[in-house]
């Protein structure tokens, strides 16, 4: 759907997209308030008895007697908050009925002899008269364990027995044909548990080549096998399998995945090096290369900066000690770090922001945004200014922002820039409505007043007059403009 700008505006004004706020804000708010008030007043009325003995729940809401509650209770010494329990004891009449379980006191003996302890009467007791046979049949329950030594089971019998949880020896299936039939039977049952059991057997008794070859033509079994290898962490066999199947991208990703388990930065870097050149998709290939380069950089920067920081000679590190190591941080975070600690460095150093920008082809927008955030945080307003200043060949300067000046203002405001600075940038916002909104929100009075004057909007200026302080410079300025005969007001 292509909408022109005008369309879009009209679309917003006539929008059917309702804001997700309460339909009638005030009304709704007051409704909630009202019910809250009602609730509170009721509380006053009935609060002579304790709130909490209504439901038997502990403060955390765990119903007393629930399983997770009981684990804490019976585990005794092993780590439950004692004060919480004391509190509970005091508040809860139910609790006091229970003996505190200790290892010497058997709870069961406490309940034995009572045929139907009132507080524990459950639905199950009430229902226990129903004949069990109505549900018994299919709630498959394997009967105990017993080994079967019969040698006559066919592959399909064997699989069926395995499925019922009986232990069967698979060893006597010696021929490839038998083994494959076993696998096919298992697959046709769809029972992942049995399929895996057969696969373990095949893995142990078949050569890799034959196993792979047979799995290739049995996709369901193959998928289970891959999942099994992932689960058991058999990385080597998994990689061999992908290689055999010529599933190169999966091979590459599986190999790459392993870096997540390597903590040591130097080793991780070396590992990432082995990933470069693996058959990733073209896009991913570039990302993996960048991943390696970034970590390599970070190791150098980290060593260098740790040294600088501990030497205590560099002002920036003294004033703003580092909160964490830069190792394994994302690229944008690294860029922010570089803009914060190494902003003025020449392009030749590894830690210079410009160098990072070039090496990783960081888009202008991203770069400016990050640099702005870093420099604003340091309240380096001159750097901020320089970021948006461009010179043409005649030497005239002009302000430009690839991210739009409204975003610049937002970021500056977030870093509590002084009004004077904010004002300059609010003025640079192109869209007049956005500018007015921002200026009003951030109390940049001059910008609001001048804009109203330029718009020849007498009404809005009058309205704004009521918002500025009585007798202030701003009020005077507004009055002067309102009284001016030079302006031909539009309203």
């Amino acid at each position: 759907m292509n909408r022109t700008k005008g369309d879009e505006e009209e679309y917003w004004n006539s929008s059917k997209f309702k804001a997700f706020t309460f339909d009638d804000e005030d009304d709704e708010l007051s409704q909630l308030k009202e019910s809250k008030r009602a609730v509170n007043s009721l509380r006053d009325f009935v609060d002579d008895d304790d709130d909490d003995d209504l439901e038997r729940v502990s403060w955390t809401g765990e119903p007393v007697g629930s399983i997770s509650w009981s684990i804490k209770e019976t585990a005794g010494t092993s780590g439950s908050a004692p004060e919480g329990r004391e509190q509970l004891k005091g508040r809860n009449s139910f609790y006091t009925q229970l003996p505190k379980p200790t290892s010497t006191y058997s709870l069961s003996s406490f309940f034995k002899g009572r045929t139907r302890p009132g507080s524990f009467q459950s639905l199950s007791d009430a229902l226990s008269d129903t004949p069990p046979k109505s549900y018994a049949p299919e709630l498959g329950r394997p009967k105990g364990e017993y080994r079967d030594y019969s040698n006559d089971w066919s592959p399909s019998d064997t699989v069926r027995r395995l499925r019922r949880g009986k232990v069967c020896s698979l060893e006597r299936f010696r021929s490839l044909q038998d083994k494959l039939q076993l696998l096919e039977e298992a697959v046709s049952m769809h029972d992942g548990n049995v399929i895996t059991a057969v696969l373990i057997f095949l893995k142990r008794t078949l050569s890799k080549e034959i196993l792979f070859r047979e799995l290739e033509v049995r996709q369901v079994a193959l998928r289970h096998f891959i999942h099994f290898l992932k689960e058991t962490g058999d990385q080597k066999l998994l990689l061999d399998l992908f290689r055999f199947l010529d599933r190169t991208e999966e091979l590459a990703l599986t190999h790459y995945r392993e870096h997540l388990n390597i903590q040591d930065p130097e080793k991780r870097k070396e590992f990432l090096k082995t990933c470069i050149g693996l058959p990733f998709s073209a896009e991913d290939s570039a990302h993996v290369q960048d991943h390696y380069t970034l970590l390599e950089r970070q190791i150098i920067i980290e060593a260098n900066d740790r040294h600088l920081e501990s030497a205590g000679q560099t002002e920036i590190f003294r004033k703003h000690p580092r909160k964490a190591s830069i190792l394994n941080m994302p690229l944008v975070t690294t860029l922010f770090y570089a803009c914060f600690y190494h902003y003025t460095e020449s392009e030749g150093t590894f830690s210079s922001p410009i160098n990072l920008k070039k090496t990783f082809k960081i888009p202008d927008k991203q770069y400016v945004l990050t640099a702005l955030a870093a420099r604003a945080k340091l309240r380096a307003w001159n750097d901020v200014d320089a970021l948006f200043t461009t010179k043409n060949w005649l030497g005239y300067t002009k302000k430009r922002a690839p991210i739009g000046f409204h975003r610049v203002v937002e970021i500056l405001h977030k870093n509590s820039a002084p009004v004077q600075i904010l004002q300059d940038y609010v003025n640079l916002v192109e869209d007049v409505d956005t500018k007015l909104n921002l200026a009003t929100k951030l109390k940049c009075h001059d910008v609001v007043i001048d804009t109203c004057r330029d718009l020849k909007d007498r009404q809005q200026l009058l309205a704004y007059r009521s918002k500025v302080d009585k007798g202030s410079v701003e009020e005077e300025k507004i009055d002067a403009i309102l009284n001016s005969s030079q302006i031909r007001w539009k309203n």
């Binding site: 759907m1 909408r3 059917k16 804001a19 997700f20 709704e28 409704q31 909630l32 009202e34 019910s35 609730v39 009721l42 006053d44 009935v46 403060w59 955390t60 809401g61 765990e62 119903p63 007697g65 399983i67 997770s68 009981s70 684990i71 585990a75 010494t77 379980p101 010497t104 058997s106 069961s108 309940f111 459950s122 639905l123 229902l127 109505s134 549900y135 049949p137 709630l139 329950r141 046709s188 049952m189 769809h190 992942g192 548990n193 059991a197 373990i200 289970h224 891959i226 999942h227 099994f228 689960e231 995945r257 997540l260 991913d284 990302h287 993996v288 991943h291 394994n328 994302p330 690229l331």
Partner: protein
Amino acid sequence: MAAHLSYGRVNLNVLREALRRELREFLDKCAGSKAIVWDEYLTGPFGLIAQYSLLKEHEVEKMFTLKGNRLPAADVKNIIFLVRPRLELMDIIAENVLSEDRRGPTRDFHILFVPRRSLLCEQRLKDLGVLGSFIHREEYSLDLIPFDGDLLSMESEGAFKECYLDGDQTSLYHAAKGLMTLQALYGTIPHIFGKGECARQVANMMVRMKREFTGSQNSVFPVFDNLLLLDRNVDLLTPLATQLTYEGLIDEIYGIQNSYVKLPPEKFAPKKQGGSGGKDLPTEAKKLQLNSAEELYAEIRDKNFNAVGSVLSKKAKIISAAFEERHNAKTVGEIKQFVSQLPHMQAARGSLANHTSIAELIKDVTTSEDFFDKLTVEQEFMSGIDTDKVNNYIEDCIAQKHPLIKVLRLVCLQSVCNSGLKQKVLDYYKREILQTYGYEHILTLNNLEKAGLLKAQTGGRNNYPTIRKTLRLWMDDVNEQNPTDISYVYSGYAPLSVRLAQLLSRPGWRSIEEVLRILPGPHFEERQSLPTGLQKKRQPGENRVTLIFFLGGVTFAEIAALRFLSQLEDGGTEYVIATTKLMNGSSWVEALMEKPF
């Protein structure tokens, strides 16, 4: 104890009871006193089935969470490990068992796998030399867990990834097993409909399993009329959008786990008269259970959040009025009656107080500028505006380093709403994401591509507008207060998955053959024969009951939309919902992210 499970059209307490019975039978096999060592993940789902009291009745005296090294001391005869079949847990169990052997009296070890025994895990135990230490090694088929009167979940986090990324069908097998259990309890389901590759697989497995059980004829009168199996990848769009129902927003903002939510405690601090109450402000999160057992919650959870405030305020008035009644009670009889109603009124007041606080917390989020901007972009995408170019808001989110999951959700949403992004746009987003969040996310991006959430447009064709128009996925006039269409759950967007269910029940899928062919995977219909005695004769005006199974996860907003359809006066169909996992866009994307081993 779990009465809310029996409020619905199908009494799910029957399932819960069957599950409890099975648990008790296992516990009784291990005679004598016992301690249970829990896989922590399981305590949540188990909490929906049983309380500690049940275990205690069967001589469970101690409970621990599974941790490395030694087991804590416990003077019991049996140690039962209750675990999911995962290799890393086997290693811990082996460690426990081995360090146990060296001291004192011998004890009996048992292992209960949930939901299935695993030969792979047993192999691992064998390799570690401890397999022989276990007397009972069994499985507990906790496939489908009842969450509410109309809701079942397998709570299997990895199901989507395993099915759609790894091609491992184990969780589909569990789904089929769960369905067989349901049929054993509630009768054979005569009609099976499905859409998607996984749906087809599950239906095949069911047919096969049924054939194996031919010996025992199921003689239970069927409760369900239809089963609808739906692949999550038929509708990748819906979970990516921000849910706008009350329950959906609670889940989006705070995350609901096994029907519990943890909330910041400040708003729930007990207010006492006098100044002394304020001294010990709680610092621990406030935990609340959310289900239909709470009357007020059942009423508001499926409403669009914009309609919640007015309900709360109405309730407040009613409760105030009820408490005022005390002034009118003059006679002893009247006072007695008032007092007898007090507990109910107090519960209602407590419930109102909680939900007023939660609504305030949510409102803080939904009225923020950023939430509004995000929603605007989502709604633009879903209505088909500017999906083919780089989006400014997404760019800004990356520049300001908003949470990666939020960014990924939006980029995926744009991709799905454009049947894939233009190569240039995709490359641009990928580059920005990798440079800002770290190159290692190459792996995550690849996973998203493999799952179809993020992709380059092939053949330059965008099918989404056709799908949107035919299925009326975007509705211009939504009534959030008194909805007339399911699109109210996303304030304009009607969830595709639920629209498919709606169209299936009326007028039938034949009317949308063209769109069904565009959506991935086959669509099909199967019949399971019933003996003549069990065939249902529907009374005039009686609704059909459809069990709808989402393979790969379902969101609360979709559940709300289905409940809305169930409640329509002339709807004709009531739904019971089952899924592999209750999820939202964030937990979904997170499950697809690549983490260190």
